[in-house]
Point group: C2
């Protein structure tokens, strides 16, 4: 069953204790789609600028990602993020952001994609998330993400997105900011009250927490001994999670728990190298091998 993702495709400049990379392929929708495409056909809605290289376009196409919704704008450059990580790889520090095309673009969902059953609204302006959602006929499961910027600048829009989607996937810092609750169990309950039936809180190296109307499930992270670059880990997590659900055409409690494992495994590959470098070589066999190891690691 096909999966639709709305979000950003970007250039990233990233410095981590392991090194520095400039103008590498990044963005929330890129990581999400790349991760999900291991498991299911994934179609992408995003905008890039006139400076976006054919080489990156070919890379996305080669992965089998649907690009009919990827608009190349001729009057602006591609979204560009520059950031760094210190010893605490859980926290990204932003050096600067050039929004470029992101400030000008309104998402258009190609007609053939409007009946997709599984939809992920990756980090983007709430108004863009709502605009994409308006074009969908009757999706079976819609999850959204957000970030500090939108919590600050368009809380009303974000709360509308929460009420109109089935659930939210966000990191611990964002969950605290959005709910005002320090304790993540209480934060999840508050997210339910704010309209998200499904709340998924990512905690980086500390794993992830799922709450569906108060029923909980938690996972530690997969043990990665050498984290090279955490950029995109959260989006890969969401991609693995939604890819798993779409592939199995399932949205029940048991499927959501297994999808949390799939997300964890996808993210564990993502952080092992810069940009998409490790995910590029990931195939289903490797994914399933690590899923097995992880289940062993968790088994009592």
């Amino acid at each position: 069953m096909a999966l639709l993702v709305l979000g950003s495709v970007a250039f990233d400049d990233v410095r981590t204790p392991a090194g520095f990379r400039e103008r590498v392929l990044g963005g929330s929708a890129t990581y999400f789609a790349w991760a999900a495409a291991t498991l299911v056909q994934t179609d992408l809605i995003a905008a890039v600028g006139r400076d976006f290289p054919d080489e990156f376009m070919a890379l996305l196409r080669g992965r089998g990602i649907g690009l009919d919704g990827l608009v190349k704008m001729t009057d602006a450059d591609t979204f560009h993020w520059s950031g760094r990580y210190g010893d605490d790889l859980n926290v990204a520090q932003t050096n600067w952001v050039k929004l470029n095309v992101l400030g000008k673009w309104k998402p258009q969902v190609p007609p053939a994609w409007r009946s997709h059953s599984f939809v992920f609204l990756a980090n983007d302006a709430p108004q863009n998330q709502l605009a994409a959602l308006d074009q969908m006929t009757k999706p079976r499961l819609v999850l959204c993400d957000t970030r500090d910027l939108w919590i600050d600048q368009d809380r009303a829009g974000l709360e509308q997105v929460m009420r109109r989607t089935d659930g939210i996937v966000l990191n611990d810092g964002e969950a605290r900011q959005l709910t005002g609750e320090r304790n993540l169990i209480r934060a999840a309950h508050k997210l339910h009250q704010q309209g998200s039936r499904i709340a998924i809180i990512k905690k980086g190296e500390h794993g992830a927490f799922l709450s569906v109307e108060g029923q909980g499930f938690a996972l530690p992270a997969y043990p990665v001994a050498e984290v090279v670059d955490p950029t995109g880990a959260g989006d890969s997590f969401a991609g693995g999670l939604m890819g798993f659900l779409a592939h199995h055409e399932a949205t029940d409690w048991k499927a959501l728990k297994l999808a949390m494992l799939a997300g964890t495994i996808t993210a564990s590959y993502c952080v092992e190298d810069f940009s998409l470098d490790r995910l590029r070589t990931l195939d289903v066999a490797a994914f399933e091998r690590r899923m097995g190891e992880f289940r062993q690691f968790l088994s009592l």
Copy 2:
């Protein structure tokens, strides 16, 4: 099978976002013994001062904790810790410490206890941990704890303790300090190299990680919505863990994993109130009920 613990019995002054308590019963051995005594006979080696009230003595005796190794010194006062927690309940800030009896005392293990099979060397000076160990005939499983102070001031002594015991239980900050490794998977491997066959790293609200010669197992924390006072959580964790192993007379891989659950559950009760207030009313039935809930919470 009886369990022996060496450590501190203390007065605590504690401030948390939930309130303030002065001169409440605390100390590493107190929390450990109180937690373990839910599951097994637990005997305590520690020193208190002339100011230690009969009321606290009666409390420990009433719990069935063996007190023949609890020395009341007449020339000094009881160890006293004053600390506080801010919004991040994972990190205790020390206001001040009065070592008092701890600086003067040498542990004496009563002859009847020297053949105990399960031994926990809770946080204490490495020289005291070694002195207690010298008096044991042939324990089956010895785990130790430590803290920043001893890592700084007597690393050589601590490394001797590590080589002479089966394993170490410590928190994430201590593991990083002791090994110089930020990544906890790598820290665990380093602890093995330093002499601990079993390495257990506690991460507070983020759960705990077990590594035995490189074989790993991780748990999230039990979801507690209202943490009142984290003091003693780590010692209660160790008490639940060792109490479980001693009760089942087991030290194998499967038992260690279940013991991690027992530790997690015990700690989850500890943090729900100040001092020992919540643990005081904990019985085996409540413990087993929450164990069941937790297994449900973790189940795939």
